[in-house]
């Protein structure tokens, strides 16, 4: 990321090649658009806002894309920018990517996440419900609402707590899947398995959880992990591939000691 103590701002004209697709059943294609006077202070999505306003005024159809919080935490935005999920900045979601990452005259290619398990719904909008179903297969601790023991009766080693937090920081955006040549969801699953396996509260269900989640992942049509680490490289929350090692360990242990 480019950063200085004080920024010089500039404006730019850009060419955009954006994936357009009417709906899940139709074929898509790239459309080319020109945008002018884009400020380096804009976010990438604000640049799309400018383009869409322009298209509507011209009587054309705007580009559909997912977005919501625009502060890098909800996980909804999902653009594949110049061959990289979420674009050129490390550890950044599309909504937090700012236009100072580009320069006047650039051509930017924007595609949706591409994976069998994430079908395109329209333009840059994909269906990521598979992630919810993976969580349903075990990504939780089975406690009902009620009177639980006092929080401080479960001391947790700070290091483990921090590792669990780092894994739990996953925003479920799916960039890991989009970056993977096999469309594997291993980093997503590993992050949740790790988050809960690292905590004493998650210990009771650690075996059923990992087996259930991995089975669901396979069922959804995500590919296998060949550990290229492309997922970690693009993860906006910089979730470590060490979690995948932990997932493999958890899976093996659960498989070997399962009595089912």
């Amino acid at each position: 990321m480019e950063s200085r103590s004080y920024m010089e701002h500039y404006s730019m004209n850009l060419t955009l090649k954006v994936w357009k697709q009417k709906n899940a059943d139709s074929r898509g294609n790239f459309e080319t658009y020109q945008v002018k006077d884009i400020s380096s202070e804009m976010s990438f999505l604000e640049m799309f806002d400018v383009l869409n306003e322009q298209l509507i005024r011209e009587g054309k159809e705007p580009i559909a894309f997912d977005h919501d919080c625009r502060e890098g935490i909800c996980g909804m935005c999902s653009m594949y920018i110049n061959g990289r999920p979420h674009g050129p900045w490390h550890g950044t979601t599309t909504c937090q990517l700012h236009m100072r990452a580009f320069k006047d005259g650039d051509t930017i290619v924007v595609e949706p996440w591409r994976a069998n398990a994430f079908p395109v719904l329209k333009d840059l909008v994909v269906d990521r419900a598979a992630f919810d179903r993976i969580i349903q297969a075990g990504g939780y601790i089975s406690v009902n609402t009620g009177v639980s023991v006092d929080g401080n009766t479960i001391p947790i080693e700070r290091e483990n707590s921090e590792k669990a937090f780092a894994a739990a920081a996953c925003i479920g955006c799916g960039a890991c899947v989009a970056a993977c040549k096999n469309s594997s969801a291993m980093l997503f699953v590993a992050a949740k398995v790790s988050h809960l396996a690292l905590l004493p509260q998650g210990d009771v269900e650690r075996k059923t959880r990992v087996l259930g989640m991995v089975a669901q992942m396979d069922k959804e049509g995500f590919g296998s992990c060949t550990f290229t680490q492309a997922c970690e490289a693009v993860c906006p929350k910089e979730i470590s591939v060490m979690n995948i090692s932990r997932l493999n360990k958890e899976y093996l242990l659960a498989g070997l000691s399962s009595e089912k």
Partner: protein, 658 residues
């Protein structure tokens, strides 16, 4: 008459007594009762999960692609609870008292006390779910302080507390989905409440992928749809946050309470230009370690680090020595606005103040680390380097976010911040049981008005959302549904569903057929500008009267010159947004009417005509000690109902943080 249904008895026993005496629904009957939950943020997800666990048949709806994305996820700083783990004098009573005082004596004592009571259960529940709260080296839970309090009672997970709590609630919800107790409808938007014989009995929802309208029956309907800060166009809310569900309830007779009570958060990244689509908050927790200042000289164009210490005005510390940088949000925001209006603002727009970490980086964290590592007489460079590491752990994600947005490194130069719309204390009027004045229609979390009075204290929104969903509604809904066990599910072919769906259909086709020339976004921006300038951080009668006229005019223009591209039966974000902006326009008018009617200043509602000689909010308890609950009577017409606020425990005084 408004009946708040506050139980009799002493304040600290009300909730216990209520739970001991409310009606129950037996497990077999619960399975026959259907509940609709709209919204899956902290309030909605926790309610849907908890009610599913109890055995009710729940349907949950959200407009996002997954319930995990609701905007609770963006809450940064923390969640309050009266655990007193720090041994610094906290108690349920103190949390209750701070919240009442922070709300400038415009909230209900009984609700707030219940909130403080259940706060401790929330932390335990979340820990049991595996929420990775920050911990001390000894393994116990850590706390930080927040504005408006003098104890450390805020639990947190770095700067991502909302995310971690929401993921906890989301996981609990998905577990119920897996068990078949909850059916989840993502990418669905509620567009009408169905009322049959005076009771809420269902909703009309629109599938945002194919545009189809769906009818859903419920014995009760819960609106957990968040706040309406996006009426200002620019706010820290997510782009999709809207008032539509609450507004549909309002149009069906539900009262809207204290709509003008808006929270302007002091520490947000300033606006850079007209392209701006949203504003980003920098957590209030940063005020623990950041000192807010402006230059003592007007129109000072020097860079922050070139301005010597003696030429800096730490205006919060100067004006409020007791609370300093940790005054409540409304007070901090107004103080920043005052300095900027007087010509002391910084940055290119002059609409910003500095939030500077250097002092504590060196003196608090740097020195502590140096001492830990046994470094004697460390120089400033070493202290900064050591301090940075600690600050990174506490706020790393916030500093990174600031740098991504502004291109400036806050470890090196002070952040520039300015107040922005963040939260709305107003919302649907609810009684003690969280029920609106329409039987069977409930409202939870930010969507209701009940707990924060005229100003919410930091780290209390997460607390309220989860209190309502995990610990209040599971009891109060039973008290209503116990009398509904004989009611068979009403077929959605019932004429009330028919009529409601027709209404939604007609409205969509009216919107699509305007075929004018102006975009939804342009109307939204214009509305936001009116609201921010005339119903924002400071309001006066003349401005509000003008705003009402301007909004009425804007409404006419909207319905005659709007352009929506695309079709109805496909993904069409412009159409979705058009419906929301149409509702915001109507809400905006009501907010101005409410602000005009309340001839006093309190909390976030600052009427310029009513201030103390030193510029603080001047309440008028003799005339305005009530909740304003507005009933819609017709276009541009509302009737005011007043719920008197009775303070039995706390004696309202002029708020002082000096």
């Amino acid at each position: 008459m408004l009946d708040s249904k506050i139980p009799a008895g002493s304040l600290e026993k009300k909730w216990t007594d209520y739970k001991g005496h409310c009606k129950l629904v037996n497990p077999a009957n619960k399975r026959k009762l259907e509940i609709i939950v709209v919204g899956t943020g902290l309030a909605g997800a926790s309610a849907a999960a908890s009610l599913g666990e109890l055995g009710y048949k729940v349907k949950a709806f959200c407009f996002q692609d997954s319930p995990r994305r609701a905007h609770s996820i963006a809450a940064q700083g923390g969640i309050n609870a009266a655990k007193n783990y720090q041994n610094d004098g906290d108690s349920v009573y103190r949390l209750f008292y701070d919240t009442i005082k922070g709300g400038d004596y415009r909230s209900r004592e009984a609700n707030v006390h219940r909130l403080a009571e259940v706060s401790v259960n929330i932390i335990d529940q979340c820990v049991a779910q595996g929420v990775p709260f920050a911990r001390e080296y000894g393994g116990l839970l850590n706390n930080r302080s927040f504005g408006g309090t003098q104890v450390k009672r805020t639990f947190y997970a770095a700067g991502q507390t909302g995310q971690q709590l929401l993921i906890g609630a989301y996981q609990a919800l998905e577990r119920q989905v897996a068990l078949g107790n909850v059916k989840m409808y993502s990418r669905h938007e509620m567009l009408e409440v169905v009322v049959i014989d005076g009771k809420a009995r269902g909703i009309i929802a629109r599938d945002l992928i194919n545009g189809n309208l769906e009818r859903h029956f419920g014995h009760a309907v819960l609106l957990c749809t968040g706040g309406y800060g996006n009426v200002f166009y620019l706010s820290t809310n997510a782009m999709g946050c809207n008032v539509t569900a609450a507004w549909k309830a309002h149009k069906n007779g539900a009262y809207f309470a204290n709509p003008c009570f808006t929270q302007i958060h002091p520490t947000c990244i300033p606006v850079t230009g007209d392209h701006q689509s949203k504003l980003t908050l920098m957590s209030e927790s940063l005020r623990n370690d950041g000192r807010i200042w402006v230059p003592k000289k007007q129109n000072d164009t020097r860079k922050a680090n070139d301005i010597p210490e003696e030429e800096r005005d730490y205006f919060l510390e100067r004006r409020y020595p007791a609370f300093g940088n940790l005054v409540p949000r409304d007070v901090a925001s107004r103080a920043a606005k005052e300095r900027c209006d007087a010509g002391y603002g910084v940055g290119t727009t002059r609409q910003a103040v500095f939030l500077d970490f250097r002092f504590n980086l060196i003196n608090k964290y740097g020195r502590a680390e140096a001492s830990k590592q046994g470094i004697a007489d460390p120089d400033e460079g070493t202290l900064i380097a050591l301090g940075k590491e600690v600050v990174k752990e506490e706020y790393g994600n916030l500093f990174d976010m600031y740098e991504k947005i502004t291109g400036e490194n806050p470890y090196e130069v002070p952040m520039r911040i300015y107040p922005a719309v963040h939260y709305t204390m107003g919302g649907l009027w609810v009684d003690y049981e969280l029920m609106t004045n329409i039987p069977g229609l409930y409202s939870l979390g930010e969507a209701n008005f009940s707990d924060h009075g005229a100003n919410r204290l930091g780290a209390s929104a997460l607390m309220q959302g989860l209190a309502d969903g995990y610990f209040v509604i599971p009891y109060t809904i039973g008290n209503y549904l116990a009398d509904e066990i004989a009611v068979k599910p009403i077929l959605t072919s019932h004429e009330a569903f028919e009529t409601a769906e027709k209404k939604v259909n007609e409205r969509i086709s009216t919107l699509m057929n305007i075929k004018g020339s102006q975009t939804v976004e342009s109307f939204h921006k214009r509305l936001g500008k009116i609201m921010w300038e005339k119903c924002g951080m400071a309001r006066n009668a003349q401005g509000l009267q003008e705003a009402i006229k301007e909004i009425q005019q804007l409404k006419k223009e909207f319905w005659s010159d709007l352009r929506i591209p695309g079709g109805t039966n496909e993904i069409n974000p412009e159409l979705d947004k058009a419906g929301r902006v149409a509702d915001f326009i109507e809400l905006g008018e009501l907010m101005c009417i409410d602000a005009l009617q309340r001839n006093e200043s309190c909390g976030g509602h600052f009427r310029e005509e009513y201030q103390t000689p030193d510029g603080e909010a001047q309440r008028r308890d003799d005339q305005f000690m009530y909740v304003s609950a507005w009933e819609l009577k017709g276009e541009h017409q509302w009737e005011l109902h007043k719920e008197e606020l009775k303070y039995e425990e706390v004696k309202p005084t002029q708020r002082s943080y000096k």
